[in-house]
């Protein structure tokens, strides 16, 4: 019989000795540096500053962007090593990442479409937290339907002038710069065309930032009003008019491997089990705790399989939509179970799980609603007819 007369050589979940060494190094650094008491909430001015300082501390020992090239502050860690780092990072109870918009959305775009000049200029201060990035995708009339954007970029001498309004700009209340899509050619024949991908300064003349409080009142995002904001040509990513294609590849990353690492959910599931035990292991939550542990493990192994396919030369396509649905529902289930375990105390806003709960509520909505993801799974993975919803 073909291929079974030998030990399985490729289905292998053992990390290489070098990767295990890397894991050990990360673990010992984190053990020495992770703050013993949690930082104040990232969505407050004080907490934002504390998280920015934490990024600098990470960066000082080159732990802030491990997957980047060394010349930009990283460790050239491959996909698997990045997964290992994330497992250790979250298991150590380390703080949330204030630089995530930049690191997981903008940086991959710069690596793929930016110039070397842009990378050298933008990436190192991103790695240290010196410049924190906000995203500026959505507009009041363009949420899930990004192609409906109307904010303009108008050609000007040596650059562009932005006008219009962005909203749901996460981190923008306290961040330094932002990136997004602007309509540079309103006469383009199709609405996906004529969009340009730009970076701009949140403190530039003409920018007004209006913080928006999320459910718990914290200014987790903001509206941006842009009134003739000048952006030099050097801050355009890729060719003008190519913004949609460039952003879609970034959106793929957002949904895909790099937005929500399995390490987060493994750590949350382990904390949930601890909470369950601490509350006397109540029977009513037994199944949900077990299912959370299993789902976190499934997500980890699914991600390892996807990473292995990438290493094997494949590109990840619409399967990222399954990821998005899976992790967002898992995150919500984890936090709802935790609040239920807390009983009447579950409503207290200062509890260890409440901020995560509020955050998890947004999961099914952002980065493409789960409805859109299910449409993609049905149409592109299963081949069901398109277009009717």
């Amino acid at each position: 019989m073909g291929g079974t007369g030998r030990k399985a050589a490729i289905v292998d979940l053992t990390h290489s000795p070098a990767d295990e060494e890397f894991r050990a190094a990360a673990r010992s650094w984190l053990a020495a540096h992770v703050p013993r008491t949690p930082l104040p909430s990232l969505e407050t001015e004080e907490g934002f500053a504390a998280h920015r300082a934490w990024e600098a501390e990470l960066a000082a020992d080159r732990w802030s962007v491990v997957s980047w090239p060394e010349r930009f502050g990283g460790r050239d860690a491959g996909l698997l090593r990045w997964l290992v780092f994330e497992e250790e990072y979250w298991a150590a109870g380390a703080p949330g990442r204030v630089g995530q918009n930049g690191v997981s959305l903008l940086a991959p775009t710069l690596f793929a479409y930016g110039t070397e000049e842009q990378r050298a200029r933008v990436l190192p201060p991103m790695a240290t937290g010196e410049v924190v990035w906000a995203q500026a995708w959505s507009e009041p009339e363009a949420g899930s339907d990004l192609a409906a954007l109307t904010s303009r970029a108008v050609r000007a001498d040596g650059g562009w002038r932005l006008r219009g309004q962005k909203t749901w700009s996460s981190r923008a209340a306290f961040a330094d710069r932002a990136f997004g899509l602007f309509r540079s050619d309103p006469d383009a024949p199709r609405r996906h065309e004529g969009l340009t991908y730009l970076m701009f300064d949140l403190r530039a003349p003409g920018v007004t930032v209006r913080p928006i409080g999320r459910l718990d009142g914290k200014p987790a995002f903001a509206e941006l009003f842009l009134d003739e904001v000048f952006v030099p040509d050097e801050d355009v990513i890729g060719a003008p008019g190519q913004g949609w294609r460039i952003a879609m590849s970034t959106a793929g990353d957002e949904r895909g491997l790099t937005l929500r690492s399995p390490g987060r959910f493994l750590a949350s599931a382990a904390r949930l089990r601890e909470l369950w035990r601490a509350r006397g292991a109540p029977e009513h939550a037994r199944a949900r705790v077990a299912d959370a542990l299993i789902a976190a493990r499934a997500y980890q192994l699914f991600t390892y399989a996807a990473a292995s396919r990438v290493l094997d030369g494949a590109r990840l396509g619409p399967e990222s939509s399954m990821n998005k649905v899976f992790w967002s529902e898992l995150d919500l289930a984890l936090h709802e179970t935790a609040l239920d375990l807390l009983g009447a105390d579950g409503e207290l806003a200062d509890g260890a799980w409440s901020e995560g709960y509020v955050f998890s509520l947004a999961g099914p909505v952002y980065a493409g609603t789960n409805e859109i993801q299910r449409d993609i799974v049905a149409e592109r993975l299963l081949g069901l007819p398109k277009g009717r919803r």
Partner: protein, 317 residues
């Protein structure tokens, strides 16, 4: 056997709905969340004028009750308008203090709305201890009227629910109060309030998805959206008869079943409402948030789902 609200009960609902719609209740809620109780107290007086707090108080003490069905009718409207304050707790107090001589002393003020009461949950916090004029603490030696200042306010996921620890230091009112009966009434009021919260969330979401367009069509024309809202509607409409059935019987297991079902329906509706509104629903400044966060908080107030289920299995329906 006729399981229908009568004209007077429907009129009570209509009266409250009209009054609360005209009263800019959301502004009162937002003030309340910041600890400014002025508008909330004014609202409270007007609710008392309609007779709501008298529904748990017998006529001889200035009330019109006990009328649990009318109470449920009224509390659906209070929930529908996200009225702030220790509403169910004031009902609890009226039941706890229903025996003479306490009744003479406390019930008229509660019925008239001049007193606002809160009750400390077992081992937990009391709602709006900073606003209540009567702060009751069930303690080992009896029911106490707390005269010490309430503890600092702890925020709930619902900013309009301001939780404080209460000290039993003060006056021992009675060694033995009707805790079980009070819990039943409190749960009934909470169930009604939750149903109202769910109905408001459904209404607002239906309105939103009819006008909000994406991909060139109303969001409400997508089948996935329709089906989530149909499920919310069904869950709420099946909670409604449980609520009124429980009000009729006042059996603890029936009330627990209604509390569980109404709260679950309201919470599921909140999840749907949040999801279908997208990012705007997730903001504190948009009024939807007033109901969203209350749905979660009511779910665990005065009886978690598991406590309610246990009663159903023990006592039967």
């Amino acid at each position: 056997m006729l399981f229908l609200l009568d004209a007077g009960q429907r009129a009570l609902a209509d009266t409250l709905h009209a009054m609360l719609s005209a009263a800019d209740t959301p502004a009162a809620v937002r003030d309340w969340s910041r600890g400014d109780h002025t508008r909330g107290r004014a609202l409270w007086s007007r609710i008392a004028e309609v007779g709501v707090f008298g529904l748990a108080v017998p006529e001889e003490y200035g009330g019109a009750g006990p009328h649990p069905v009318e109470l449920a009718v009224a509390f659906v409207e209070l929930g529908r308008h996200a009225v702030p304050g220790p509403l169910a707790e004031t009902v609890a107090a009226a039941v706890l203090l229903a025996e003479p001589p306490l009744a003479e002393r406390f019930l008229p003020g509660l019925a008239a709305g001049t007193d606002m009461a809160t009750v400390a949950a077992p081992g937990g916090c009391a709602l709006d201890g900073d606003a209540a004029s009567l702060r009751l603490v069930p303690a080992p030696d009896g029911l106490c009227l707390s005269t010490a200042a309430p503890g600092p306010v702890r925020r709930s996921l619902d900013p309009a629910r301001r939780l404080t620890a209460l000290s039993p230091a003060g006056e021992l009112l009675t060694p033995d109060a009707p805790y079980d009966r009070a819990l039943t009434w409190t749960r009934l009021a909470t169930a009604a309030q939750a149903l109202g919260v769910g109905l408001a969330l459904l209404d607002r979401t239906v309105t939103y998805v009819r006008q909000r367009t994406q991909f060139g069509v109303p969001v409400g024309s997508f089948q996935a959206v329709k089906h989530r809202l149909a499920d919310a509607k069904t869950a709420l409409e099946f909670a409604r008869p449980l609520l009124f059935g429980a009000a009729v019987s006042l059996r603890p297991a029936e009330v627990a079943a209604a509390k569980l079902t109404a709260c679950e329906a309201a919470y599921r509706t909140a999840r749907t409402a949040l999801h279908l509104h997208g990012a705007i629903g997730y903001t504190a400044e948009y009024d939807l948030s007033l109901w969203l966060s209350k749905a979660r908080a009511l779910r665990s107030a005065w009886g978690t789902p598991e406590e309610c289920r246990d009663l159903v299995l023990t006592d039967g329906l």
